[in-house]
Symmetry: C2
C-alpha cells in the first residue's frame, strides 16, 4: 500500500521528490538530532492523486489521523484542546521552490474554546487572541479565498478608532473584537462560518495547498521554468512554536557564510518577541545575529553549533530559520542558501580548501551564468551619487548617461555623441530606435518579461525595469520621486542592471576584475585576489574535465587575439561581411552595377588583394589554431543604400527640379531590382555564390594565398572553409568542386564544410555530410527558420507577450529550444556521423556561449562550441560542468 | 559467377534492370518468335564494375568472345571477314531512357579489307563505301570524341567540288576518297590510326557507351530526374541489317494506335532504300505506312501481324522500329509508346473495352499531369492565323495578346486593359513585372529550366520558350522571321504553351471539354464524347479506389460551388484575408491606427456582421460538407499602403510645399512602425491573434453565429476552425481556450485544429496534437521555411540556375521535396497520431493538387488533400492511382 504520510523522523534530505524540499530538509534535521518541532509530511503522491481525481486518496484521512495522534502523544497536547491545545502550521513545499503557491497557515487548531486554553497555558491573553486573529485572517485569505483587504481594512479601522498606527497598541479586547469581526467577514464572504473543528481546519488547509499547485501564477511559473505540471506539492504539518510569547522568545534567520561576498563568518538577523511574519513586515528593526549572544548565550552557542553541523552535513552554505520559545531553540527550516555570483566562486573554492568537497563538486556549485555576471563592468564607489531606488535587474551591466524620455531624443542625443539612458513607463516596439541608441533602459513598470527587459537582453544592453517608486512623466520629461524631488531631462542617471539599483549622478564604472585578469591587465588586484583565483581555479578544472572544445567568433586580428587570451582553441566563425564594407563598398557597388562579366571580374579582381590581407591578419593571429572562414553570407543589397531613403531622395530631387545624376538613377534601379520582400529568405549565402560567378572563388583564393604566404614564412595557418546557408548537398558539391580546384592551384589544403542553419540541411544531413568535412550549426538562423520568425522583426513585437503567456520560458534566441531546434541538431549530428564518422561538429550561433545551450551541445555530442570572445570562459566553465554532470539536461 | 552477357534469346521484358529497356524488349521479341536480328546484351552490372573500378570485369572479354562466336556461327559470317563480313551495331540502353548518353555506332566490323567483302556480297560498291564512311565518322565522333564538324566540313567540301548539295550524288570514288580523308582526320586528331581490328572497334565502342553514362548532360538529366547515379547502362550488340541495300529494302516506324488522338488503326512512316538516320535527317519524304502494302505486301502483312501480336503481348500501344532488307522484315526495337494526354485516356479505356486490361490497370495508364493538361483551354481552328514556329512547351495553356518587347510596356499596356504577350530573347528577374502583367511569355532562347519557364510555371502562366527560329530584337521592338518578314510591337500573337506552337494573329481559344463537362456546360460535344467519357470513367474508378478524400481551397461561395461541381468533399482551406480587403480596408486601417482598446474594439465590432455574412455564404454553399476556415494569417501592414510609395508621396508633397493631411502622416507613422524586414517571418498568423486582443475572437464569433443561423434554417453547416502559423502547443492552447468559450456561448460546436507550416510545429507535433483535433499541412510555408527561401524572392532570382545545376529536378514549390519537407510531414503524421489516434490529417498547400505530391501524401497516411477547385479532378485521379499502386513512390 502506498504510504502517504511520513513523520519528520521517517524522511531524509534525499526524498525531495516525495516530501518536497522543505519536508526533506526538516526530516534531515530531525534525523541528525537537531531540535525540530515534531510534525509530519503529506507526500506529493497524495497531491498527484488529488490533482488527477479531484479527491485525496481514500487512505489519507486514516494515515493523517494516525500521525496526528502520534504527534499529540509526543507533544502531550491535543489539537483543539480547550485546556492546552496543540497548534500546527500547514505549509506547502514542492520539489522546486515555486512562487505563486500557497505558503503557510499558522496556528491551526485554535477555535473559540482552545484560544482560552492557549491563553491559560501562555499566561498571555493578548498573545492568544492575536494568534486566533491571525489564524482567521490567514485561513480566510489563503484557504477560503476571501479578499485580504477586507481584513486589513478592519484592522486599520480598529487602529484608527484607537488613534494609533501600531498593531502592538491593539489590546486583548481589541483583538477579541477583531476576531468576531473577522469571523463575520468569513461568514458573509463564503456563506459559511469559520470552521471551528480543528481537524476540519487542517483538512481544508491541506486541500488548499494542493489546489494552489494549479494557481495561475504557479502554472505560469512552471511553464516558464519548464517544471513538469504533474509533480504536485507536499504539505508539511508542524507543531507550532512561538517566538512571540515573551521577551525570552524570538525568531531569526542565519547564513553559515556571507551570501553576498562569500566571506566566512556568522551572518543573520534576530528579532526578540516576534514571529517570522513580523520580520518580513519590517515593523521593527532586527538585531545582528551576534547580539543574540548577549541576550541568550545558551541558545546562541547551540545555534552556532547547529550551523557548523549543518554546513558540514550539507557541505555548503546553509540558510536557516529558527525560533526561540522561552529560551528553547527550534529549527524551522534549512536549505542550501542562495548567494551572489562572486560568493558562489569564493565559497566553492573555500569548501575545497576546507576538505568538504572536491574540485569536481566545486565546479558543480558555480554556473556559467554566474561567471558571465562577473564579467560585466560594475559600479564602483557610489558615494558621488544618490541612490534613488531599486528596480528589477532585467539585463545586467552598468550604464551611465543623461536621462531622456523619448525614443527620438535618445536617437538625436546619441547621434551627437551623448551617452543617454532612455527612461519610459514601459516600452513598446516604437521605442526600438531609442533603445538601440541608449546606453541603458530604465522603466517604472513591467517585470523581467516586459518588452523592455526582453529586448534589452536580446541586445545585451543594460536595463532596470519595474522601478515602481519612480513616477515617470514622459510628457513633462521628468521623473517624480516620493520625496517630491524630480529628475529632469539631461540629468545624469547611473543604472545597475545586475542589482537593479538606480542612482542620480554619475557612478564610476569599474571594469570586471575577471575580464582584466584574462586580459592580463590586472596589476593591482588586492580586492579581487581571491575571486580571480577562485574563477581561474574552477575554469582550469573545467578545462581538464570538458570534452567540448571552445572556439570564438571573431572577424578581425584584434578580436582573434583577445579570443586567444580568453582561452579559445580557434576561431569557429570568421565572418567575411565586414570585408565588403568601408572603403570597399565602392567595389561592391561596381560588382552589383556591372553591365557584364568583364566589369564584374574587374571588381572581384580588385577585391582579391584586400581580402588576402584580411585573412593574412587573422590567420597570423591564430597561428597553429583552426580558423573557420565563412564565405560571404548576406544579400548584396545590404551593401547598398536603403530603397525607401534613396527613392525619397530621387523623387524629392525630381519634384524640386534638381539634377539627378545618372549614376544615382542606375543605383536606384539596382537597389529596386535587388530589393527583396524577405531578404532573410532571399538571395544570400551559397545561393549568391552560385549565382554570381567568381564571388566565392575570389574568397577561396584569398584564403588560400594568405595561407600559402604564411606557410612560406614558416608559420602554421589552419584555415577551414565554410559555406553558408546550404540546404541541399548539391549546392555544396558545386562550391566544393571549385574550391578544391583553387586550393590545388595555390597548393594548400583546407577542410571544406558547411553551416547547418537551414532546417532542410539538418533534415538531410546524411546526404550533406557526403560533401562536408565539418558542420557548424548556425543556431540563430536555424531558430529563425525553424520557428518561422525573424529576430529583428518579432523580438520587439511579441516576445514579451509570449513570455507572459508561457509560450517559452526564455527567448529561444537566448537559450536553445531543445524540443524543436535541438531536435534538428540531434538529427543532423546522428545522421551526419552515420555518413561520415569523423565529421567534425560545432556550433557558431550565439547559443554557443549560453550556459544551458552549452550543456545541450555537450549532450548532443558536438566537438566544439564557438562564441564571442567574452563568452569563452563561460563556455569553458559550462563545458566542464556538462562533462562532469553527464546527460543531466537543464542547468537551471 | 556473375553472368555479364546475355544472348537476346536468354532475356525477357522484365529484365530492364540488368539488360536496359532496349535490350529487354529485343529479348522479349526474340522470345516470342519475332524476327529480331540476332545479338546479345552486355549487362548494366558490367557497366557498374567499369564505373566503380575504371576497368571492365575480368571475365567480360571471354564472355563477349563466346557470344560473338555464337553470333558468327548463327549468321554464318565472321566479324571483319574480308569476304563476307558480319557487321554489328553497338547501342546504349539504360533502364530509363536517357538523353545525353551515347546512342549508336553502326557498321562495326568494317575495315579496309572487309569493306571489299561487303561490296562483293551486296553487289553494291557505293553502299559498302558509304557504310565504311559512316562507321569512321560515327566512331570518330562518338567513340573517339573527334569534333564532328571536321567530318561534316569534309563532306561539304566534297559536295562543293561536285557542285551538288545532295549526299546521294557522291559516288563510290568520292566516298573512297572521303574514307581516306576521315581516317586522316582520326589520325591527326587522336594521334592514332582508325582501328582496323574489328574486335577492337567493338571493345572501344562498348567502353564509350559505359563512359557516356557519366557525360555532363547525362549526369544533369539524372540529377533533375532523380535517377540513381549508379545504375549504369547496358550495351546492345546486334547484327546489322540494311534498309539501304536496294529498292526492295527500307526502314520505318509504326504505332499500333494513333499516339496523337488515341484512335485505333495503323500509323507510321516508311522510307524505301534508306537507313534510320536518313529518316531522322529528313532528306527525303517518308511514305505513309499504308503504302508499304503496295510495295511489299508480304512484309506489310507480316508487320501488321507483328503489331497485333505486340499490342496484345504488351497490352498497350507499342512504338516499333523496323527494317526490310531485300524483302526480309526485321524488328529493330519496340517499346510502349508515348502518347498525348487525350490519347492516354482514350487508349486506356479502349483497352478495357477490348478486354486487354481491367480498370485498375487502365487507371495506372493515365496520370494526373495528363488530366491537368486536358483541363487547360486550347486553341481551336488556327485557320485565321499563321503558324510561325514551334518552341518548347514550357508552361501549358493558350494565350493571345499583342506583342510587347519590354517589361515596362507590358505593364503599361496591361494597365490600360490590353492583353499582351511579353516577347524576349530570354528573361531575367528584371522582367518579373512584365511577366506578371502579360497573358503569356515567349522567348527565343533557353529550355524548360530557363528563367522564363520556371517563373511562368510558378505563376501558372502560359509560356513558350526557346523558339530559336525567331530572331527577337528588343531594341528594334520586332521579331525577324527566317522568311524575312517581321512581327512588330502591337501585332497579335497566339502562343500554345501545351504544344509550343506560336501563331501570328488571333487563334480562337476553346475551353477544355473536360472542364465544361464537370461544370455541366457540355451541350454539344460530339467531338469530345469519347474523351469526356474516358476521363469520367477513370476518375470515377479512382473515386472507388482512393483512400484520400479531396477537398478544395475556396474563399467565396462561387468558388465553393465550383469545387462541389468538380467533386470536392469539402473546403480544406477557406482563407479569410480577402474579407479584410475592399470596402473593409478602412476598418482595418482604423484597427491599426486605433489609439486605444476602445477604438480597436469598435473597429472589430463593425467587422463582425460583415464577417458573419461571409461565412453564411460559404457554409450555405457547402451545406453538409466540412469547411475549414483559417483565421487571419497575413501581417496587418499588408492591408496598408506600401512604405516606399507613401514615403515618397509625403516627402514630395513636403518638398513642393503642398499640404500633407495629418491623417496621412499618422498613416505613414503606422506603416513605418508596422514595417518588417521579413514580413514572412514577422507578426502574422497566430502571433497577430495573440497580440491584437479580440481579432481571432471576432472571427470565431462570426463563424459560430453563421453556423447557428444556418442550423436554425434546418441546414447542416460544418465549420472547422484552423489556427495559422502555430509553432508551439502553448500558442494553440491559448487560442483554443478563447474559441471554445465563444463556441459554447453561441451554442455550436466545431473542431479546432492547426496548420502545420512552421518546421517547429512538425518537429513538436506530438505536443501540438494535444490541443488540435486536426492538422492541415501548409506545405508552401513549410517549404519556404524548411529551405529558408521565400517563393516571391527566389523563384525569379535563382531557381533556373538551381534547376540547371540539378540542385532540384523540379521546383520544390511545384512538387513536394520528399527528403526534406516530406520528412517533416512524416514526422508530424507519426507523432501527431501517436498522441491522438483519431487526429484528422490533411494538406492545403498548392502541393495538394500536384500529382507526384498526392502520391506522397497517400503514402504518408494523410486523410485528405485540398487544392484549387480546378485541380480537384486531378487529385481525385491521382489519389486513386496512389491507392492502387501502393507505396510505389514517384509517378514520373
Amino acid at each position: 500500500m502506498t504510504k502517504y504520510v511520513y513523520d519528520f523522523a521517517e524522511g531524509n534530505k534525499d526524498m525531495k521528490d516525495l516530501l518536497g524540499g522543505k519536508g526533506a530538509n526538516l526530516s534531515e534535521m530531525t534525523l541528525i538530532g537537531l531540535p525540530v518541532p515534531p510534525g509530519f509530511v503529506i507526500t506529493t503522491e497524495a497531491c498527484q492523486t488529488y490533482l488527477a481525481t479531484g479527491d485525496v486518496p481514500d487512505e489519507l484521512a486514516a494515515e493523517v489521523t494516525e500521525h496526528l495522534q502520534a504527534l499529540e502523544a509526543q507533544m502531550g497536547k491535543r489539537l483543539g484542546d480547550a485546556d492546552d491545545p496543540l497548534l500546527v502550521s500547514v505549509r506547502s513545499g514542492a520539489k522546486f521552490s515555486m512562487p505563486g503557491m500557497m505558503d503557510t497557515v499558522l496556528n491551526i487548531g485554535l477555535n473559540d474554546q482552545s484560544v482560552e486554553g492557549l491563553a491559560k497555558q501562555s499566561g498571555n491573553q493578548r498573545f492568544a487572541w492575536d494568534s486566533y486573529r491571525r489564524l482567521v485572517q490567514m485561513f480566510g485569505k489563503t484557504v477560503l479565498g476571501v479578499d485580504g483587504d477586507l481584513f486589513e481594512h478592519a484592522i486599520d479601522a480598529a487602529k484608527d478608532a484607537k488613534g494609533t498606527e501600531d498593531d502592538l497598541d491593539l489590546g486583548e479586547a481589541d483583538l477579541r473584537a477583531l476576531v468576531e469581526q473577522f469571523k463575520g467577514i468569513v461568514q458573509s464572504e463564503t456563506g459559511s462560518p469559520f470552521p471551528q473543528e480543528p481537524r476540519a481546519q487542517m483538512d481544508f488547509a491541506v486541500k488548499a495547498v494542493f489546489d494552489s499547485w494549479n494557481g495561475d501564477r504557479a502554472r505560469l511559473y512552471r511553464r516558464q521554468e519548464r517544471i513538469p505540471a504533474d509533480l504536485g506539492t507536499a504539505v508539511n504539518v508542524c507543531s507550532m512554536v512561538f517566538g512571540n510569547m515573551s521577551m525570552d522568545s524570538g525568531t531569526g534567520v542565519a547564513f553559515t557564510r556571507d551570501p553576498g561576498s562569500g566571506s566566512q563568518g556568522i551572518y543573520g538577523d534576530y528579532l526578540q518577541n516576534a514571529q517570522g511574519e513580523d520580520v518580513v513586515a519590517g515593523i521593527r528593526n532586527t538585531l545582528p545575529l551576534q547580539d543574540l549572544e548577549g541576550l541568550d548565550k545558551a541558545s546562541y552557542d547551540e545555534l552556532l553549533g547547529i550551523m557548523a553541523t549543518l554546513e558540514h552535513h550539507y557541505r555548503d552554505l546553509c540558510d536557516i530559520e529558527f525560533t526561540i520559545e522561552r529560551g528553547k531553540l527550534w529549527m524551522l527550516q534549512t536549505r542550501v542558501g542562495k548567494r551572489t555570483a562572486g560568493a558562489a566562486f569564493r565559497i566553492a573554492t573555500q569548501l575545497v580548501d576546507e576538505g568538504l568537497i572536491d574540485l569536481d563538486e566545486a565546479l558543480g556549485r558555480v554556473t556559467g551564468a554566474q561567471l558571465a555576471q562577473l564579467m560585466f563592468p560594475a559600479f564602483g564607489d557610489a558615494a558621488s551619487a544618490k541612490k534613488l531606488t531599486k528596480g528589477m535587474n532585467a539585463s545586467p551591466g552598468a550604464a551611465v548617461g543623461k536621462a531622456v524620455f523619448s525614443s527620438e531624443t535618445a536617437a538625436e542625443w546619441a547621434a551627437r555623441g551623448e551617452d543617454v539612458i532612455l527612461v519610459r513607463r514601459e516600452t513598446n516596439p516604437d521605442d526600438l530606435v531609442g533603445m538601440i541608441a541608449a546606453r541603458g533602459i530604465l522603466t517604472s513598470r513591467g517585470g523581467k518579461t516586459s518588452h523592455a527587459a526582453v529586448v534589452a537582453r536580446g541586445m545585451g544592453k543594460t536595463c532596470v525595469c519595474g522601478a515602481e517608486e519612480l513616477d515617470v512623466d514622459v510628457a513633462a520629461k521628468q521623473i517624480r520621486l516620493k520625496d517630491g524631488s524630480t529628475v529632469e531631462e539631461g540629468d545624469v542617471l547611473s543604472i545597475d542592471g545586475t542589482s537593479g539599483a538606480v542612482f542620480l549622478g554619475e557612478v564610476p564604472v569599474t571594469p570586471s576584475p575577471v575580464v582584466q585578469y584574462f586580459e592580463g591587465e590586472l596589476d593591482d588586484h588586492d580586492d579581487h585576489d581571491d575571486l580571480v583565483a577562485a574563477v581561474d581555479r574552477l575554469v582550469q578544472h573545467a578545462d581538464g574535465a570538458r570534452r567540448l572544445a571552445v572556439r570564438a567568433n571573431a572577424d578581425t586580428p584584434e578580436d582573434a587575439q583577445r579570443a586567444r587570451r580568453f582561452g579559445a582553441a580557434g576561431i569557429g566563425l570568421c565572418r567575411t561581411e565586414h570585408m565588403f564594407l568601408g572603403d570597399r563598398r565602392q567595389l561592391v557597388e561596381t560588382l552589383v552595377l556591372a553591365e557584364g562579366p568583364d566589369e564584374q571580374e574587374a571588381a572581384l579582381a580588385a577585391l582579391l588583394p584586400l581580402q588576402r590581407e584580411d585573412f593574412l591578419g587573422i590567420l597570423r593571429a591564430m597561428d597553429g589554431l583552426p580558423v573557420t572562414v565563412r564565405l560571404i553570407d548576406p544579400p548584396l543589397h545590404e551593401f547598398l543604400p536603403d530603397l525607401t531613403e534613396l527613392s525619397v531622395e530621387v523623387a524629392v530631387a525630381e519634384a524640386t527640379g534638381k539634377d539627378v545624376p545618372e549614376q544615382q538613377r542606375t543605383l536606384l534601379d539596382a537597389v529596386r531590382r535587388l530589393h527583396e520582400q524577405n531578404p532573410m529568405l532571399g538571395l544570400r549565402g551559397v545561393r549568391l555564390g552560385l549565382v554570381i560567378p567568381g564571388l566565392f572563388a575570389l574568397q577561396v583564393r584569398a584564403i588560400a594565398e594568405a595561407a600559402k604566404a604564411l606557410q612560406e614564412e614558416g608559420l602554421d595557418p589552419r584555415p577551414e572553409i565554410m559555406v553558408p546557408l546550404v540546404g541541399a548537398v548539391q549546392e555544396l558539391e558545386v562550391v566544393r568542386e571549385e574550391a578544391e580546384r583553387i586550393l590545388a592551384e595555390v597548393g594548400v589544403s583546407a577542410p571544406i564544410g558547411t553551416m547547418i542553419e537551414v532546417p532542410r540541411a539538418a533534415l538531410t544531413a546524411g546526404q550533406i555530410a557526403e560533401a562536408a568535412e565539418f558542420f557548424s550549426f548556425g543556431t540563430n538562423d536555424l531558430t529563425q527558420m525553424g520557428w518561422g520568425f525573424s529576430r529583428d522583426d518579432v523580438e520587439a513585437s511579441f516576445f514579451s507577450r509570449y513570455l507572459d503567456l508561457g509560450v517559452f520560458g526564455v527567448s529561444p534566441f537566448e537559450s536553445l529550444d531543445r524540443d524543436g531546434i535541438g531536435r534538428l541538431v540531434r538529427i543532423a549530428v546522428e545522421e551526419g556521423r552515420a555518413t561520415r564518422p569523423d565529421l567534425h561538429l560545432g556550433v557558431c550561433g550565439e547559443h554557443g556561449g549560453d550556459p544551458d545551450s552549452v550543456h545541450f551541445f555537450h549532450d548532443a555530442g558536438l566537438d566544439y562550441v564557438s562564441c564571442s570572445p567574452f563568452r569563452v570562459p563561460v563556455a569553458r566553465l559550462e563545458a566542464g560542468r556538462a562533462a562532469l554532470e553527464g546527460d543531466s539536461g537543464d542547468t537551471r
